[in-house]
């Protein structure tokens, strides 16, 4: 056991949270928290899960306690009348009165200056709104996790093998072995995703499902709302039990919500499946952002996802499933880990031919959001996005603080008087804070409403991805708590400083006639500092959005190396559709002839995948004179199989030799066409046509060189790419591309119609048009540019409002001075110049600081940019100018008002 935990070891945030509890039992609570954490939580959970527990318990405890405290506060008045004998020991009636009094007072003051109140609420609302909206996305993807019972006792069982990319998948036999570890696991389940086509009278639909072990629903603690989960017997014999559980959404949508759905059948990939259950609302499978339609027993895998890979349920080398296990109560993770590793060692010994290395590592499910590899990529991006919207909130809060400071200065005299009459400072601060808190809550409410609206827009939007994305973005409790915490935190943080500032007990000078010109001192400097901050922060945001916009424009102008603006394409799986490969190739030829014969279709071709697809396929090549990397058999290069006419259709010019032709069949000499980049890399200065290299265990002759195209991303440097004839290298997943005379959607409709007529049972994987396909590539850039542009725009707007406030407040304070100047003969123009100059000085300071910050910050996003450097001069010059223009406008309005001051009135205003 390590050192006992001391109070100071508690994170500061937790100690602050506990301050929400009354003194009366705060210490006892803190002690309880430490004791439970140390004694029960740390030994039974991972470090991260324990930390999560600590924060959750502390914040929940503090909020609940605070709620009780408020409740007691407001009910203790009636408490004396309900016949209870006891008196409230700490919070008397007097206290209650004070709170009510503060609330009334604050409300009155807020209503009395509606302009200020509105600006403050809207500012905060915008800040809280963008934060809440983005957080609801982060929550859905990274925080919420699957809706299962007691996720704290679930662990992920990842296989570690010699595979280069450690995804952690296991084989089905491995899963069955892990399931025997019943002394450490209460239950074990495994799942793997599949696509199938649901055949209906009017064509077929793609369904997304998971093949699962019979224990799936039981282990996860998910109880079907209708029917049942799977019986152990339904996952014993391959292909014998065609049963499915359907999701709530699938049931309500495609099955019409029929209450008698259990017992009905579904046709999947041509086979009939009996529906045995309907999953509960909110349970969408094991992956956030993906919504499963159906679940089926793993023994149906040959029927549902064979892809020429039959019998995987007994093949140890075929690793494709994720395993989840539920720890037996009281079994520490370390013991389960030891048992799993021991099992892995036994398996390694028993099946040495499978792999040289095998281990099972256990990771608590709560420590994983999507998958460790995905988390590693996603968490920094999510963090960066949250930081961006956090900056918007910062600007909004700065506005709030600035306004509060101004009002505080106006109230200085009142405050000084009350202090002089014996009011305690704490009492006054509390009164001012009550006002801020009311503002914060109102701002929070506006923010939540805004977020709700944004999220509704977001859910309607379907990103152009191959799988249907369905995020449940509903504003759940976590999101609400987040919004509440953000608003109250912001209110507290930015209300406290002004409250302390305006209740400084410098009574004497204030009470003396100094009321007008005196206030400009410290308060003025603070407010100026706030404006400088705002300008600096919004400049950073704007520079960011400028860079991403420029990058987006540059990316849109990239030549991908192929041209088919009006092409449409449909991908399908021929083995699942019931074709042997040889049959499929024949059918494919017939299908292409049919499509080509449709009037309005100019060209048609086939390939196993398109350039710039999310999927990627590498092949090992042995090239004479080039050593493969250590431990590899060949040099891994991007490869694609294409049919005759493909290069023509995409207008990829042949530079030397010939392209892939119809005569390149399974029976003819194996050939290869390579890209310019590949020619340059392996045969610099030579013509590679005629060279023979090896791949997939046979010699292939290079017959042509074509111009480079983009292969994986638009931003990449030319990448070697090898084209094989489709008929010599067929993998059953094929895409048919057609170019028509009409617009792409029309061609797509023609293509779809012809395919359906050709074989209605074809398992369609995706259909899209070229513009949509390219849109996928630009999608992240578009989203980043959009988010930053919105944030930057909001930031500038808020900063302009803030600047306007500061300048116009300054004008109102200087009415006297302006009056004197004007009566001494100053012309209105010079007064305007004077006032604007004062405002612009702040902006220039802010811009200078912001530019420095932006230089430092944009380095971090450099790798996300395309075609524009992180120090793009146009952006770095343009943005400050834009900001300056906006700022001048914001300062001009009050300046003009100042110049219209009637000197006599101004002088009399003393």
């Amino acid at each position: 056991m390590s050192e006992p935990i001391q109070r100071r070891d508690l994170p500061r945030g937790i100690r602050l949270l506990l301050r929400l509890l009354p003194q009366e039992y705060r210490d006892a609570c803190e002690g309880d928290l430490i004791e439970e954490y140390e004694r029960y939580v740390i030994p039974s959970r991972s470090r991260r899960a324990a930390k999560v527990w600590l924060w959750r318990s502390a914040s929940k405890g503090a909020l609940v306690g605070f709620g009780y405290r408020l409740y007691d506060l407001f009910t203790s008045e009636s408490g004396t009348s309900d016949g209870r004998g006891g008196r409230h020991p700490r919070m008397g009636v007097g206290q209650m009165d004070i709170v009510a009094q503060d609330l009334r007072y604050a409300l009155r003051r807020l209503v009395a200056s509606p302009g200020f109140t509105l600006v403050a609420i809207v500012s905060l609302g915008l800040g809280v709104g963008v934060n809440t909206a983005l957080f609801s996305v982060v929550n859905a993807v990274l925080v919420r996790g699957p809706q299962v019972a007691d996720p704290g006792s679930l662990v992920e069982v990842y296989s570690e093998t010699t595979e280069e990319l450690q995804i952690g998948v296991s084989s089905w036999p491995d899963f069955r072995d892990v399931a025997t570890l019943t002394d450490v696991f209460d239950g074990v389940t495994a799942y793997e995703m599949f696509f199938a086509s649901q055949n209906q009278e009017d064509g077929s639909d793609l369904v997304l499902g998971e093949l699962v072990s019979a224990s799936f629903f039981k282990v996860l603690g998910v109880t079907p709302v209708l029917g049942r989960g799977f019986l152990p017997s339904e996952d014993e014999v391959p292909g014998r039990d065609p049963v499915v559980v359907v999701s709530q959404a699938f049931w309500k949508g495609r099955l019409g919500g029929d209450p008698g759905v259990v017992g009905r059948t579904l046709r999947l990939n041509g086979g009939l499946y009996t529906i045995v259950g309907v999953a509960p609302e909110g349970f969408t499978g094991m992956w956030p952002a993906l919504s499963m339609d159906v679940w089926a027993p793993s023994m149906m895998m040959d029927q549902l996802m064979a892809f020429g890979n039959e019998g995987r349920y007994e093949r140890r080398g075929s690793q494709s499933v994720f395993i989840k296990a539920r720890l037996r109560a009281g079994v520490p993770l370390a013991r389960a880990q030891a048992a799993s590793s021991a099992l892995a060692a036994r398996l390694l010994e028993a099946y040495p031919e499978v792999d040289e290395r095998l281990d099972f590592t256990l990771t608590p499910t709560l420590d994983v959001s999507v998958h460790p590899l995905v988390d590693k990529a996603l968490v920094p991006v999510a963090g960066m996005l949250m930081a961006v919207v956090g900056l918007v909130l910062l600007i909004a809060c700065t506005n709030l603080a600035s306004f509060l400071l101004a009002r505080g200065a106006d109230r200085k005299k009142e405050v000084a008087l009350r202090l002089a009459l014996g009011a305690r400072r704490g009492r006054l601060v509390r009164q001012l804070l009550t006002e801020t808190m009311l503002l914060a809550l109102a701002g929070g409410a506006v923010g939540v409403a805004l977020a709700d609206w944004t999220v509704r827009l977001l859910t309607r939007f379907q990103p152009p991805l191959p799988v249907p994305i369905s995020l449940d973005l509903s504003l759940d409790r976590t999101v609400f708590l987040f919004a509440l915490a953000v608003s109250l935190g912001a209110g507290m943080l930015f209300g406290l400083l002004p409250a302390l500032q305006s209740t400084k007990p410098d009574i004497a000078p204030t009470l003396k006639a100094e009321s007008h010109r005196g206030g400009a001192g410290r308060t003025g400097r603070l407010r100026s500092g706030l404006v400088v901050t705002q300008v600096a922060v919004s400049l950073v945001l704007l520079v960011g959005s400028g860079l991403f916009l420029r990058s987006l424009i540059a990316a849109q102008a990239i030549d991908p190396g192929f041209q088919a603006p009006e092409a449409a394409m449909i991908s399908f799986e021929t083995r699942t559709s019931g074709y042997e490969d040889a049959e499929a190739l024949v059918a494919l030829r017939q299908l292409q002839e049919r499509v080509a014969a449709v009037p309005g279709v100019d060209a048609v071709a086939a390939a196993d995948r398109l350039p710039l697809s999310a999927s990627l396929s590498l092949e090992d090549f042995q090239i004479p004179g080039h050593e493969p990397p250590e431990g590899r058999e060949g040099i891994a290069l991007d490869a694609v199989s294409v049919g005759a006419g493909y290069l023509d259709l995409l207008q990829i010019p042949i530079l030397s030799g010939r392209g892939i032709e119809a005569s390149d069949t399974g029976g003819s000499e194996p050939v290869l066409v390579i890209s310019q980049a590949m020619a340059r890399r392996f045969w610099p200065g030579e013509d590679p046509v005629g060279q023979v290299i090896r791949t997939r265990g046979r010699d292939v002759r290079i017959v042509g060189v074509v111009r480079d195209t983009k292969v994986r991303t638009l931003g990449e440097a030319p990448r070697p790419l090898a084209y094989s004839p489709l008929e010599q290298n067929y993998h059953s997943l094929v895409t048919v591309i057609a170019r028509g005379q009409g617009p792409a959607p029309e061609t797509l409709a023609i293509l779809r119609g012809t395919l359906n007529e050709f074989d209605p049972n074809l398992v369609i994987m995706s259909e899209t048009t070229m513009p949509e396909h390219l849109g996928v590539m630009l999608f992240p850039a578009r989203m980043a540019a959009l988010l930053l542009a919105v944030s930057g725009g909001l930031g500038v707007l808020l900063a302009a409002v803030g600047l306007y406030g500061v300048v116009s407040y300054g004008v109102s304070r200087r009415t006297h001075e302006v009056g004197v100047r004007m009566s001494l003969g100053a012309d209105p123009g010079s007064v305007v110049g004077l006032v604007i100059g004062g405002g612009l000085r702040l902006v220039i300071w802010g811009a200078a600081i912001g530019l420095g910050l932006a230089f430092a910050v944009t380095r971090a996003v450099e790798r996300f940019l395309y075609g524009v450097s992180a120090t793009d001069p146009l952006t770095f010059l343009g943005v400050p100018l834009l900001l300056l223009a906006v700022a001048t406008l914001a300062a001009y309005v009050p300046a003009r008002r100042a110049s219209r001051v009637d000197p006599v009135t101004a002088l009399r205003s003393e």
């Binding site: 803190e30 002690g31 309880d32």
Partner: protein, 110 residues
């Protein structure tokens, strides 16, 4: 009801926890006791205000234990069931029992 308010469900749970735990009733043990027996998650922030209310009604009493080096040096706030608390629990139970009379267990509803 004769002017006195009946025990709420949560109050009953906490009082029962105190009764079961005897000399060892304080925040951590009570929380875990209720959770282990009912599966209901209980927040520390709810225990103390509720116990304070029960104490004001005279159903429990509380005292602070001597601080030891553990728990970050914080003392425990221990609770003891008072005779009035025991009576209140019994009353609550007999009321529920009276309403259940005549039904065999598990035969209602389904």
């Amino acid at each position: 009801m004769s002017g006195r308010k009946n025990l709420g469900e949560f109050e009953q749970l906490l009082l029962l926890a105190v009764m079961r735990l005897g000399d060892d009733a304080y925040g951590v043990t009570m929380r875990r006791e209720v959770e282990a027996r009912t599966g209901r998650e209980v927040s520390l922030g709810a225990i103390y205000p509720t116990m304070a209310r029960l104490e004001r009604k005279g159903l429990v009493s509380s005292f602070a234990s001597e601080p030891t080096g553990e728990r970050g040096g914080r003392s425990r706030r221990c609770f003891r069931l008072e005779p009035a608390g025991r009576r209140a629990l019994e009353e609550a139970r007999s009321m529920v029992d009276a309403m259940w009379k005549g039904f065999e267990e598990g035969k209602v509803g389904t």
